[in-house]
């Protein structure tokens, strides 16, 4: 089916789409608190301690307690804030983060109840472009949140965040272009199918590293978390937020991490494919994808436990002087090799 914006490769009836989106949304939303407690417990292990283990069995109910605490907070805003933007900004951040999940393929087309269903939100001909477009919009969530708070500190935090996101989006995009040239398709399922022989992490290793580093910056994770910099700033652009809007920003950050892990899994780690010619039945595919995503998530936490936060000028010079030239060279080399074949 061809629409004005993009070509949809696998067309399904509208009610299947709605059910699928609800399932993906529900699973991702249910997984978020688990990821939060997983991160805290793992961070504890990296520091010779247990992490939260008091609420519920093994501390698994910790995020529930925190959510209840945040939900019961008084909704407040500063007198100088712009009310409607102040309320909309966290929603934008959250919405763009969730919308990115639509393209992550969790498996190929499977027959569920005798009906072929693609185990992904939608398979379109603009895969990575859609993701980058949403990343571009998510920047409004940060920018509007910081600006509409009516506090100069939030505004400065938003400026820092915006500058960082813009700088690293370029490198992130360029690192994916190398893969797209190799795979000759913009469909994310197509990219997975193109990796049947070899995952792109091997031929595109430099691109993989660049994507990884840029993803840390894009999701505002350590060592590039100077957008929020909890130790030296109060909280960057969400300083004035409390209660549920604050949780919305937090959820957006974790959802962004899930999406980035999903994209990296799809593009570099062969999605649902397994190495050594293992072909499990179709229902294993989502498990494989989620396991690979968890691998990425664990690495995110590992790096957070290891690396200290960069200085702002280091961040900028690293992004523009090292990462971007490296991504460009990687792209050019890939283009020359693919073109000469």
């Amino acid at each position: 089916m061809s629409t004005p914006l993009a070509q949809v490769y696998f067309v399904e009836p509208w009610w299947v789409q709605i059910i699928k989106s609800l399932v993906i949304f529900g699973v991702a939303f249910g997984v978020l608190p688990v990821l939060v407690v997983y991160e805290r417990k793992l961070l504890g292990r990296f520091q010779n301690r247990y992490g939260p283990n008091r609420v519920g069995p093994f501390g698994l109910l910790q995020p529930m307690a925190e959510i209840v605490k945040f939900a019961l907070k008084e909704p407040f805003r500063t007198e100088t804030s712009v009310a409607y933007l102040f309320r909309i900004a966290p929603m934008i951040a959250m919405l763009t983060a969730i919308a990115g999940l639509a393209l992550v393929p969790f498996g190929d087309v499977q027959h569920i109840f005798g009906r072929p269903i693609g185990l992904y939100g939608i398979d379109v001909s603009i895969g990575p472009l859609y993701v980058f477009a949403l990343a571009g919009i998510s920047f409004y969530g940060i920018m509007l949140g910081g600006w509409s708070s009516g506090s100069k500190y939030s505004f400065l935090g938003a400026m820092r965040g915006a500058a960082q996101l813009i700088s690293y989006e370029v490198s992130q995009g360029l690192s994916l272009v190398g893969v797209i040239i190799t795979a000759q398709t913009l469909s994310l399922t197509g990219i997975v199918h193109a990796q049947a022989g070899m995952w792109y992490v091997i031929p595109q290793f430099v691109g993989f590293i660049i994507f990884l580093v840029a993803s840390f910056a894009e999701t505002n994770r350590a060592p590039f978390d100077l957008v929020e910099a909890d130790a030296e700033l109060v909280g960057g652009y969400f300083t004035e937020y409390g209660g549920t809007p604050f949780v919305a920003y937090l959820f957006a950050e974790y959802m962004n991490m899930i999406v980035v892990s999903g994209i990296a899994t799809t593009v570099f780690l062969g999605g649902w494919l397994l190495p050594f010619g293992i072909h499990p039945p179709g229902w294993v595919d989502p498990i494989v994808v989620i396991a690979k995503m968890m691998l990425f998530f664990t690495f995110f936490i590992w790096v957070r436990a290891t690396l200290p936060r960069l200085r702002y000028d280091q961040l900028m010079s690293f992004g523009w002087k090292i990462l971007l030239p490296l991504a460009t060279v990687n792209l050019l080399v890939t283009a020359v090799i693919v073109g000469s074949r």
Partner: protein, 179 residues
Amino acid sequence: MSPGYDPGADVIQVVRSPAPGPVAGAYRAFGETLRGLKTTFARVVEGPTTIQYPEEKTPVYPRFRGRHRLHRFEDTGLEKCVGCSLCAAACPADCIRVVAAENTPENRVSAGERYAAVYEINMSRCIFCGYCEVACPFDAITMGHDYELSDYTRSDLIFTKEMLLAEPVERTPLRTEGE
């Protein structure tokens, strides 16, 4: 430092490699990052060193100065304290109150002539210096090992003679040799 000071042999020359350029710097940063990742992962392998406090208690050394204890003679069961108030006199925080009374043949409490009718230690004032222990001529008061001394009201922190004479409900673990 005097103006004519010659550092001479005191100076230690530190040999440093030249500052790396952008490529070498990036390469070195990458290697150091991997080394850092290895370091933090070794912490996971080590496992947590946390003591789960309310369930697990930190063992104390034998000479740890915790909550005071009053003692009796083991054979006769009489109190060692004779109510001389030397502990109260030695106490820099002034937290001990002793009221002495005469022993009578019908009511014999201590081994000496007199006994402590009232013996109170205000734990909210005590600084656990151990001077009372040193001052006591009969070793009637010693510093115990208990350190869990919180309560909801200040008056609950005034320990009476009966409380100080009684065995502690929960024993604090003692550190073993070489621990």
